[in-house]
Structures are given as C-alpha cells and as structure tokens.
C-alpha cells in the first residue's frame, strides 16, 4: 500500500488533519457547537466554489470564507444567540449561493470542472500532491498546537463560564479564537473528506469520547485517537475495496465508533422512567448533568 506515492501523501495529510479534527471536535461537542461546525461546512463549500468560479486557488476561498464567517459568528455570538430558524434560513441561502457558483463554474467549461465540484463536496485525499500533503500537515499541526495552548482556559470556560469569567479569564477572546481554529480545521478537512462530510469527522470522535469518559484530558486524547484510527482504517479500507470512496470509508468508521460508544453508554445506564413518562433509559441521560453547564453558554 505504501509503495504508491498517492497513498503516502494521503496518509501524511490525513493523519494530521484527523488529529486536528479529533482535538477540535472534542471541544465542539463539549461546547455544544455542532451547529457551528455544520454552518462552517456549508460555508466551506460555497467559499471553495466561489474561488473556483473566480478562477483563483480553491484553498484561498476555503480559508477566507470559513475564517470570515467564524469571526462573524464569534463577534455576534455573545450579544445575540441566533435560534435554529435563523441558522436554517442562512444555511439555505449559503447553499443556494453555492449552487450559483457551481453552475457558473461548470458552465465555463465542462468535464474537468464537474469533478472539481465533487472534490469540494466529497473530498479528494487520494489526489493530493506531495507539496499539498506537506502544507496540509503543517497547517494541521499548527492548529493542533494552538488548540492545546488555549485548551486550559477553553475547557474552564466551556464547563463553568460564570466562575471562569469572575476569575478574569478573557472568555470572549478565547471563544473567538476557538471558532477561528475550528474554521482553519474545517477548511483543512474539506480537502480530505469534503465539505459535506467533515461534520462527521468533527462530531463523531468527539461525541464518542464524551460518552466514554468524563475526564476532559483523557477525552481529548481519546477523541484524537478515534479520529486518527478512523482516518487510517478508512484509507486502508478504500485501498483494499476499490469501489469505496475514501471519504465515505472514513466517515463510516467514525460513525461506527460513535454508535458503539452510544451502545455502551446505553447498556450501562440503569433503566428509569423519564419525566414525561417516556423511555428513560436514554443514551443521553448521563450527558444531561454535565451538559447543562455547557449548554447554558451555548454560543452558535
């Protein structure tokens, strides 16, 4: 498998992108910002296609669009918390814009451009050049280091924002910094698994780690390890089974990890009756106690 250069490049870029996704994804789940990740993945798609339609480098469009939107969300987030209806309306429009750029782009010339659109939507990790892979790895490592640098205040601020604020931690700056990091990682991951699937690489390992351990540092490491395993397994699987697209294989393994973690949590939780008479034996029961703190400060 490693005799092929494209597989070596895929593993080089994929490993570090998965590592960064796992680390950031854990905080995304902890801070209940899965919706923000969803928003950024839509924006990544539109940004990349806008760049393609304008004839500039797709990477530039990806990074500019996601970082700009992340800054906007971070700045608006403290004052006004937009509800899901607003988010939904904005999403629909952003995707509509994406459809516009897609049609401009594919009408310009045909054939080659159609595949470029699919690459943006569903990733192209097997098509990376050595230079691309090295750049992706460097950016992912920098993002991971930056995240670890702000991990302590970020964790404090996510779990108990009131106490953290009263201790004088710059929560707003940390929150915006985190969103920008999320944007960088999202733009990176778009190249690996595509704009539509990167949410899975963010949410599934983080969600699984949250279900498996309550210790945040162990959870962070576990989330990164699960993302890395998904990436390695997915790449190997798609190499063995030629008809399997790599992005699907990666997401499928990550989803399987999450499903197993949820099953384990469900089996371990004692059956009880919910407050509304519904089935109380819920996967999410053990979450609610820890999530209420983070949930009250949800900034999306």
């Amino acid at each position: 498998m490693f005799a092929h250069e494209f597989m070596r490049n895929a593993y080089l870029a994929g490993s570090f992108v998965a590592l960064a996704c796992g680390l950031v994804g854990y905080f995304v789940v902890l801070r209940s910002q899965v919706f923000a990740g969803d928003a950024l993945s839509h924006v990544a798609f539109t940004g990349a296609l806008a760049a393609a339609a304008a004839g500039i480098d797709i990477k530039l469009g990806l990074f500019v669009a996601t970082i700009a939107v992340a800054m906007g969300m971070g700045l608006l987030g403290d004052r006004a918390r937009p509800d899901d209806v607003v988010i939904g309306s904005v999403f629909a429009w952003v995707l509509g814009l994406g459809a516009l750029f897609l049609s401009i782009f594919t009408n310009g010339s045909s054939g080659e451009n159609g595949t470029a659109a699919v690459r943006v939507l569903f990733g192209s990790i097997l098509g990376l050049s050595v230079a691309d892979a090295r750049l992706a790895a460097v950016i992912a490592v920098l993002a991971a280091l930056a995240l670890l640098a702000i991990a302590r205040p970020l964790l404090f601020g996510s779990l108990d924002p009131d106490v953290a604020r009263s201790l004088g931690l710059p929560l707003r700056a940390v929150g915006i910094g985190f969103l920008v990091l999320l944007a960088v990682v999202a733009a990176e991951a778009t190249q690996a698994v595509g704009a539509l699937l990167l949410l899975g690489l963010l949410a599934a390992p983080g969600g699984a780690a949250r279900l498996l351990t309550d210790n945040p540092w162990r959870g962070l490491a576990l989330s990164a390890a699960l993302a890395l395993t998904s990436m390695w397994g997915g790449l190997a699987l798609s190499y063995e089974v030629a008809s399997l697209p790599p992005s699907f294989a990666v997401i499928a393994i990550a989803t399987a990890f999450f499903a197993l973690a949820a099953l384990r949590a469900w089996l371990r939780s004692p059956p009880l009756t919910g407050p509304d008479g519904g089935p109380g034996r819920s996967v999410f029961r053990i979450e609610t106690c820890c999530a209420t703190k983070a949930g009250t400060d949800q900034r999306v």
């Binding site: 209806v85 939904g88 429009w93 992005s247 983070a294």
Partner: protein, 296 residues
C-alpha cells in the same frame, strides 16, 4: 455581475406566453405550485414547533434515499419518500421537540447527517458517476419534472394537506402549550409522530424540486417570515403559503430567463424577503406601538 436575460421583453403578456410555451416549464410551474402550498403549510407548523433541526436531518437523508433508489433502479420518488419516512420514524424515537438538545445528542445528529451524505456519495459512486445526477440530487432540477411526477406530487400533497387539516387544531394546541394539551387529553405523542411523518412527506416532495440541500428555502424561510409578521395561526398559515408560492413562481420565472439555477433564485428570494421583513419590522417596532398585523 451582469445577468443575461435571454428573450425577456418589456411586454409582460408575451413574457408569460413565453414562460408557458414549453411543457417542461408548465410542469415545473405546476409542481412548484403544489410543493410550495404543501411546504408553506407544513413548514409553518415546523417553525412553530421548533423542529428545524429535524427538518434538516430529514432533508439530508433524502439524498442517500434518492441515490440508493437510482442505484437499484427504482423510481427516485420512491427513494425520497422511503428514506424520509424511515428517518421520520427514527427521529420520533430520539428527538424531544422544544427542548435544548444535550451535547452528545447533537453530536449524534451531526454524525448521522454526515454518514447519510457519505452513503449517498457512495451510492452515486457505485452508480459509476453520473455527475449531473449528483448535482441535480443535491441542488434540484426543474427541467426534468415529468407529467406523471406532477400527478404523484398532487396526490401526495392532497393527502398531506387533508391529514394536516384533520390534526391541525389539536396539533396547534399541542405545539403552543404541550403540557396543558396533554392534561386536556390531547394525544401529544401520537400527534408528534404524525407530524414528523407529514414533515418527512413534505421534505421528500420538496427535495424532488429543490434538491436535498435546498429544501430549507421553501420549508423554513417563508414560514419564518410569516411568523415574523403575524403570530395568529390562520393568517400566518395563509401568509406562509402565499410567500412560498410567490418565491417559487418568481424563482422559476427568473431562472427561465437567466443562466443561473432555480435553487439559487428561490433561496435568494426567500432569504431576501426574510431579511427585508426583519429589518422593516425592527424599524416599525422601534418607532411605535403599531401592532404586527398592521404591517401585513
């Protein structure tokens, strides 16, 4: 950006004649009308019940459904309705409407959504890559709608609206004040399930028109705009339907005369309307005690 309007004249009558000249355009307008009425009505309840995320999940699931149906050679409509129906049943087991979802529940939904999209991509790849198919599944098509599809849509919409008319009153009660409704003996659980199935039906029908990714443009935005303007159920529902209709007709007409896709026009028109209404209402509310109804 210059927009080329091919064949558009200053005479509105000849423009309308031109619009209805081709049968594909007539069918697209018919299908759009049916879908807009259904999406406007059901979307109003969805926004009221704060189930936008459920609608999003259902619309994402429509994509693998359609792609899977294409792969095994079934009609695409079958895939849309089958996948959305199953997803609606599954969601009714998991989701508790009106409550803040805990972090790992949203992680679960995120993972499932990405997995669904990945599955759709797998199906399309296995179908040996008709790229135009992929684009139309995701972003919709209005040239490809056939007369039989319009007929199917009509029956589905009639059934859905009839069902909505039957459960409308108790559903409204349960959506606005669930606890009191339950105390009064309204079967809120059954209603929630019924509504999710209706929502699945509406999403599947809308997805055929707008594509899996743009369903929101017709389902959420007109309803959200209507609820900005009036809180009363009757006028609100009517307004939501009218807005959805206007956006669909205008979007189709503009798309006919311009080189850009219908999905872009429909989403932009409905989003523009939403933003305009919000800004206008903001100005009105700040100025004085005029009631919301006066603006409509």
């Amino acid at each position: 950006m210059p927009i080329e309007l091919a064949g558009l004249s200053w005479n509105p009558v000849s423009d309308l004649e031109q619009l209805t000249e081709f049968s594909f355009m007539v069918q697209a307008l018919e299908a759009g009308t049916i879908v807009a009425v259904m999406a406007g009505a059901i979307g109003w309840f969805m926004v009221l019940r704060r189930q936008t995320f459920a609608g999003h999940t259902l619309s994402v699931v429509a994509f693998p459904g359609a792609a899977g149906a294409t792969l095994v050679g079934l009609p695409i409509a079958f895939g849309y309705f089958g996948a959305c129906g199953i997803a609606a049943l599954a969601l009714s087991q998991v989701s508790r409407p009106g409550r803040e979802s805990p972090s790992s529940e949203s992680a679960a939904i995120g993972a499932v959504q990405a997995f669904g999209l990945g599955l759709g991509f797998l199906f399309v790849t296995l179908y040996s890559g008709q790229l135009s198919d992929l684009e139309s599944l995701l972003f919709g098509t209005f040239l490809g709608i056939t007369a039989t599809q319009v007929q199917t849509l009509l029956w589905v919409a009639l059934a859905a609206l009839a069902l909505l008319a039957v459960i409308g009153r108790p559903l409204l009660f349960a959506s606005v004040d669930g606890a009191v409704a339950r105390a009064a003996g309204v079967p809120t659980g059954a209603l929630a399930l019924g509504f999710l199935l209706l929502l699945g039906l509406a999403v599947a029908a809308t997805a055929e028109m707008t594509g899996a990714l743009l369903v929101f443009a017709l389902l959420v935005t007109p309803a959200a705009t209507a609820q900005q303007i009036t809180a009363r159920p009757g006028p609100g529902l009517a307004l939501s339907v009218v807005l959805a209709l206007a956006v669909t007709w205008l979007g189709l007409a503009i798309a006919y005369f311009s080189p850009y896709p219908v999905g872009f026009w429909v989403t932009s028109l409905s989003f523009g309307l939403y933003v305009a209404v919000r800004l206008l209402l903001g100005a009105f509310v700040r100025r004085g005690p005029e009631p919301f109804g006066a603006v409509a």
